[in-house]
Amino acid sequence: MKKFVSWLLVAVLALGMCSWVSAEETAAPVDVIDFEDGAFGFLGLWKGKANADASTLEVAEFNGSQALKITLSPDAKVPYVAFNIEGLLGERLADVAAVSVDFGLDNGSDGKFHAVSGKFYDFTGEDNAEASENWSVYLAKKNPRTIVHKFAGEFLPEAGNFFAISREDQAGGEPVAIYLDNIKFLDKEGNPIALDLTAEYVAPESGRDLSNLVALTNVVEFPNFKTSAGAWAQAGFEMPQEFIDALVPGSVIEVDYESADGSMWIVFPWAAAGWMRVGGCGNGVDARNNSHTIAQIPYEMIEQFCGEDKSTWNVMLQCEAGSEWTVYGVRVGQRANQIVLKNAVELPGFTVSGAAWAQTGIEMTQEFIDALVPGSVIEVAFESEDGNIWLVFPWAAAGWSRVAQNEALIIGDRAYITYEQIEAVCGEDKSTWNVMLQGEGSSPWTIYSVRVGQKGEFYGLTNLVELPGFTVSGAAWAQTGIEMTQDFIDALVPGSVITVSYESEDGNLWIVLPWAAAGWSRVGNEGKDVADGKIAQVTYEQIVEVCGEDKSTWNVMLQCEGSSPWTVYSVAVGTAM
């Protein structure tokens, strides 16, 4: 009996110790992201790159435990899973040296293993410098696989630094899902750092994706247009009078949205012409950026389907998409092509402020003056209370001269003043303008930078037709491409524009029609196209100039080429707005 009692005592003690240990473990700080609780608010999809995919993120079982599952969208581009590293690490942000991740792959729909690779992206330091390193799971017997990545630089607080994992390449087969698990952030000694898993992911600031879109001026916001609905469901509001007044020829309705299939269009349900979709479903295709987050519907497209008399469109404006959708904002404005400066020259040190109607500036450098030639444009990055800014040439032989007062093209925080506008005020002989350049505004203002360059314009594109499968890379001066589809060729008409989403080391990219009857033909090279390092546009008319008017003689092969190593993510043709 005594023996039984003592065994019982030992058992009770052991249980007690176990529960104590368990309580201690619960209280211990978390230093690994294992997704067992299903939460992953500290990460999200980063869409800062032109090829970003709208993948699905979810927690699902893999290899006997919970893991983050990444499933590609039908577009099958590249997902970038970004982490709020500052929120996760808090005060120990400066200590982090590496990250350890378990990568796993599903087998393909054919039941076979297909290797997958991607990259770790680090954005570190004061200038948010980008660096990357490959990861891969390349053998069935090494799936899943733990990979340790050493960060390229130091993460700084409040510098917009972040870290992302992409999935870029697969060896054949339909795209498979990948899994991330047991993520540990390690210090220099390789010890995992405690994590705050309540951190919230906030998309890093990467600028709005304005691909395929026009810029808007004189913008009128549609107040509180934020709503959601399921696929093929419509939701919206009555347009306020100010919004209706701004709907005039040359204007564009712009919608900020998110939808699973990337689609978005508008509906005028009370139009006299009948319940009317515009911008989708056979009634035109609105302009949408490559990230599928902004749609633009030109006034003329609405007119085409709802009639010329705006009053018959009636006041109800709704949105709709082919999948579940959310709209975050709607506005209307006059359209202006986005301006790109070619061979831009900066005027160093032009960071000045002034009170309303005060002028401040600096003397132009010879390099800047040399770049001021017919066709050039001065770009002023500025901020002012009333959104107005212009230039002053106080020493001009024509007299103290204001240029483009209330006439500069203002797009967001940039003002554009053309050479011809200066010439109209100061005279044709540039040498008489003299070297002093100043800014001025009708309210307190600050100019952050001033550049001059040849003016290039990006067109907004409706009725976009993609050329499927045009994801290719090439070395400098190498050409690669595919044959154009009949749909694509049909869309190549006067007024159309080929748009290429790409990256290249020196920013240059153009197209090549190697089988053209006119001979092997480059189009848009030597800076004749408009390219900003992400998007390049070549007009139908530029192709005609090189390859001739008869489209059938251009033949079907379309290639790209650059003067440095390049990658093209997509090619499409659309109608310039």
Binding site: A115, S117, S136, Y138, L139, K142, A171, N525, E526
Partner: protein
Amino acid sequence: MKRILALLLVALMAVSMLSALADEPRNITLAVWWDMYYDSDDEGWEANPGATGKESDIMRYDNVKVIEDTYNVTFEFVNPTYAGTIDSLNNSILAGEPDFDIYTVELGWGVPAVMNGLACDLRDVLDPDDPLLSHEDPIMNFVDLSNGAVSLLYAKGAENQVDHVYNLAFNLQMIQEANLEDPRDLVERGEWTWDKFREYCQVLTRDIDGDGVIDVYGYGGWLGDFLPYWFMSNGTYIAATATENFSSAEVGETLKFLQDLYITDKVAYPIPEESGWDVCRWLYRDKKVAFCTTTTWILDSYKDYTEADPNLDFDMVFIPYPIGPSGNAETNSTQLANSNYWLIPSNVEDPKLVYNVLRQYVNWFQGDTELRDDPLELEWHYVTTSNKFDLQEYNFDVMMEYGSRTMVDFLQIFINDIPFRQFLDGEYTPAQLQEQYKQVVQDNLDQLFG
């Protein structure tokens, strides 16, 4: 007794199972990041979507059976992705267990792998008199590396030899009109030297209309196309090993020679600041140069000779680059290693078997090199250079001969880091350029060799 019999039976069964296991053929794997054909998984020549059923397709498919029967192995292509191939090469070999028996590599990371001991040196594996080691094997060849390792392998064959060569070429009629001896004869007699070339360029550079502007230069080309070959013609290179060679005396000699052409004699077409590549590659078409550096794809761009009625009214003749004071006509080359190669990892099991399997895979034509090098399959390489049969053959032979020796120079990877155009404009002396940029070359090599 029954028990003994039963035990015997069990023992027999075990032996038979073991021997069956021992007979299980080894699977030889080749890592490559694109689709390759054929391997033991393929069930017919149709497995290759690019095949049409021609004789060579069927021979390539049947060759897999030859591999299996000859070496008692199966043969498999595995696609680990591009990044996965590099990952596996750099990690699994170091760990002592290579994931694959053969790796496809690019020069930029294949050479560092060899230099760091990750690749098998076939000098330690093959018989000393194996023809591969002396470049005499008709099937396989290797890239000569500074450490002598026989590791970076590629298939021999006419197509590989002529595909990427950048030839020196001349306008035959200009030479004839200037009453100069045909350079081919000088090559034949071993008198084709830098001095002779400089002399020719001086004669050929002319202001035809007397307006003070040079109309024809002796030589012209794009520096991205010609630079490595001029260095080779003096038996040297910029960056072929882990240590820079930019500061060497031989490179200095070559730089001096180029400045003699461009600045001292002014007999080479000045390279424009903008679009130099586009201007300089086509100078020969407008008869603005007598000699130039060119290649088949350049001649094909405007179908110079491939149309029934040729676009040019003169002939282009290929010849080797003239030999500099430190050069050697026997080793001169117009082929720069810049393609994909195979390597066998250093600690692979039975590397000789692996090599034999790879060689047999390449040898789909079963030793019949005429079939492999069938001119009908290589027609494009003939007809792009001339509309005259004898010249087509001559140019092809020059490409074959000087393309047979593949040289290594990593210069192309960082050529834009060195201001060669400004150098040819006289902004630097050879010594200044070498001194100021030798560290740039070394930094690039350090990055390359890890």
